[in-house]
Amino acid sequence: MTFSQFLSTEPVRFDGGLGTLLQARGLPPGEAPERWCLTRPDVLTDIHRQYFDAGSNVATTDTFGANRLHFSAEELKEIIPAAVRCARLAAEQSEAPQEKFVALDVGPSGRMLRPLGDLDFEDAVRLFAETVRLGAQAGADLILIETMNDSYETKAALLAAKENCSLPVIVSNAYGADGKLMTGATPQAMTALLEGMGADAIGANCSLGPEQLRGVVTALLESTALPVLFQPNAGLPRVVDGKTCYDVGEAEFAASVASLVKQGVRLFGGCCGTTPAYIAALTAATRDLRPQPTPPPKRTVVSSYTHAVCLSDDPVLIGERINPTGKKRFQQALRAGDTDYILSEGLRQQARGVHLLDVNVGLPDVDEVKLLADTVCELQAVCDLPLQIDTADPVAMEAALRRYNGKAMLNSVNGKRESMEAVFPLARKYGGVIVALTLDETGIPPTAEGRAAVARKIIETAASYGIGKENLVFDTLAMTVSAEPNAARVTLEALRRIRTELGCHTSLGISNVSFGLPRRDAVNSTFFALALANGLSAAIINPDSAEMRKTYFAYRALRGRDENCAAYIAAAAEEPAEVAKPAEKTAQAAGQILPSASELQTAILQGRRERARELADALLSAGTAPLALIDRDVIPALNTVGEGFEKKTVYLPQLLMSAEAAKSAFEAVKASLAGQAQPAGKGPFVLATVQGDIHDIGKNIVRLLLENYGFRVVDLGKDVPPERVVETVVELHAPLAGLSALMTTTVPAMEATIRLLRERAPWCRTVVGGAVLTQEYADQIGADCYSKDAMETVRYAEAVLQTR
């Protein structure tokens, strides 16, 4: 019998702890237990046999840390087969009658993934892949990925298992006392991610005792259609007479786990502190229990690295602003690699209350494959909303999905064969809820029935890829009502039919409907209300529109989805009072309300970011020339703060607040110039934190100030190899390069970068800074200038350019 067959009908008993048993047999603390597979195979076989004798169906190999970060390739090739052999031999030696299997154990890598740590996602996939391949070759029956406390690393391990063997894969996470993973994911978020990627069972192990994890296990049972595994510790550890003891005994442990087996747990055993005696007690306590048939909750769920968002009758808002279509400022940011602008668009929408962010970076003249994946990574480093990956290019979609830390929404597929053949395999592999447009080779059907028919075809085709209709969300295409009088009616009718007759969730991009009409907000928000009434599950909207937000909150209150109208009232309190727009007022009486120049200077001096932006906008729309605004207001204010900083009357955070206010004034200038030729900028100044170093606050401060002073800064980020710095300097013929290092260990990388610059870009001046640097150090490594802070860097850069 294969493990999959066994799992489909039977409860599966796992084994218990290994580490403490090995220590009891003489493993010294600090020594790698995996080596005992080679040096003491008899001990491992004996422990595995004891577990089989106690009733386990599955022995977990002694390979928790068997990966390339801890062992050489040669050692792994010996350890992993030896570990599988020990377990296999024990299965043969044990006379217990039950079915017996060997699980290849895969624990965490021991390193944290980027951006929190320095291990790249693909490197993590590679190192798990090596372990999985060796285990599968050695004849393991299944893969057990366990004790993972980070969702991203869990994804890397599961992807590696799926790509490198055809064995069943069980994934178990270590949840903390707060019911979440260390990096923040809830059980529901993990269910979405792991189910989407095709795990065969999911669960919780380690960290706590059975009672403390009851809530986590219940949440897993309620959220997944997969079998659930549970392997808790024997309670919490205590030290008694110099030995670690656990505070939950065999009988209590068995009763506690058994009560969760009654609730539906299908695979069970123990983790730290449990022994064959615990497993024997658990076997006895569960002898007569049959697995509960798990009711399959077919929910439509997407997730981020912290939480899941479920589509339901309570509508979900998707922010549409990360999209270059028709937005000159956004296009300019994409072309210039100005990621910070894109990130701030995302965070602003989050503050406006959207539940998901649509991410579209498609422009004809950018490398969308790289840009989309990079943008997804950058966004998920700063924003915990689930993302909707929006691209027409399947290659870009795959690159972004692979790196996405959760279960994404995919935008989109349609009824054309070519589209479905490209998108469904990606959703099958990486998971995802797919937005399906109701159009096909024949175009957009003019009737509701025609669109519902396309939806049916898409559901059937998805099913042939193993994708259920709960992972499809239909967009019945809002067309422009000014061009086709029946456009909105057909869209709404198709929406209603798909929602009620086909039982699928729906989504609409709202704004299209009003193209070409005045007061588009009124049309959009009314259409939005109608769509909601017809069963709209998710709306792609501009959350900056007060009308749309009003409609959303009013709808929820009217449909009884907002207890005491609390959310409606709270939202109303946050809306700014409705006054005429400053621009209109300015047009009326520019002379009177024009803020004086010194007011903008004051806002910058006081570090008031929003105020500086308002004032700059007002000045610009009243006709102040953009460059005059910078020279007359921004630079003098910055100079005042900069001098204060140098005299130590202004502290760094205050300098930065002013710099941020100045930047927001620049942002107003950029917006007013979007689409036109931008001022060239001085420089360019190439900036990087050197290879091996991941600290970038100091570097970012330097960039901010340089930009304030009108430099064009090419920021290569952190952990940048010397070659990359030099290539960029050569390509741009940059006169200046700034390098930052925080640690003594990375100064050699800085030195190597300077050496290479001297060789290949002798015209370029180098300025270095960072916590460990001193003038002497800078001289030693051949830098042209040592800068103790960001202001000094600005002064030096200005001086260099003046002498040219």
Partner: protein, 203 residues
């Protein structure tokens, strides 16, 4: 306390604003700095920190600059001086978790002023946690204790981090890992040795 590794969670120590401002290099804050710090602290409370420590007691044998802890040893004249007249150490690893790193990463892109203050908040938090933990040691070990001494201080090499990580099993116990450059992730974390003076040692 014994050679067995233990894990302990701590409640959030009280916040010391002056310390935070000191870490941020602001001797005399003005109203807008105070307001920004209030904002940062509110946000830190919204992304709860996790105060975790794992530790164990190890024997100590000093010979010259070599400090031998049984499970591992290292060479450092300064650590050896700090541990003179001790016959044991408590080695510990402490972290306040990834939440503050996420906030710092976010604001280092969006508002360096906030990022600088959040760095300072993180530094104050982890030091406060270490202080809390070290305060418990004299009672727990029944010994006088020495000030904590961390890898990277003076001549104590960072490479000793590897031994500490392995001995304490930090990744599994408190989610603390080491990166390729021997730095700790999460970044607001500390590892250190605390010397235990020989019983009856006069001060």
């Amino acid at each position: 306390m014994s050679a067995v590794t233990q894990t302990r969670a701590f409640p959030s120590p009280p916040v010391n604003r002056r310390e935070i401002l000191r870490y941020a290099g602001c001797a005399a804050p003005d109203a807008r700095l105070d307001a920004l710090l209030d904002d940062c602290l509110r946000e830190v409370q919204g992304a709860p920190l996790q105060y975790g420590v794992c530790f164990c007691r190890l024997p100590l044998r000093l010979s010259g600059e070599t400090c031998d802890f049984g499970a591992f040893s290292c060479r450092s004249a300064q650590l050896a001086a700090c541990l003179r007249d001790c016959d044991g150490v408590v080695v510990f690893a402490a972290t306040v978790g990834v939440g503050i790193d996420r906030l710092i990463a976010k604001y280092s892109r969006l508002s360096p002023a906030r990022a600088v203050l959040l760095q300072a908040v993180g530094a104050e938090r982890i030091e406060a946690l270490c202080d809390r933990f070290c305060e418990t040691l004299p009672a727990e070990t029944q010994r006088r204790t020495r000030p904590r001494f961390s890898p990277g201080y003076g001549d104590l090499p960072l490479t000793v981090q590897r031994d500490i990580m392995q001995t304490l099993d930090c990744a599994r116990r408190i989610g603390l890992t080491l990166n390729e450059s021997l730095l700790l992730s999460p970044t607001k974390s500390v590892t250190a040795f605390v010397g235990l003076e020989c019983a009856g040692q006069a001060r």
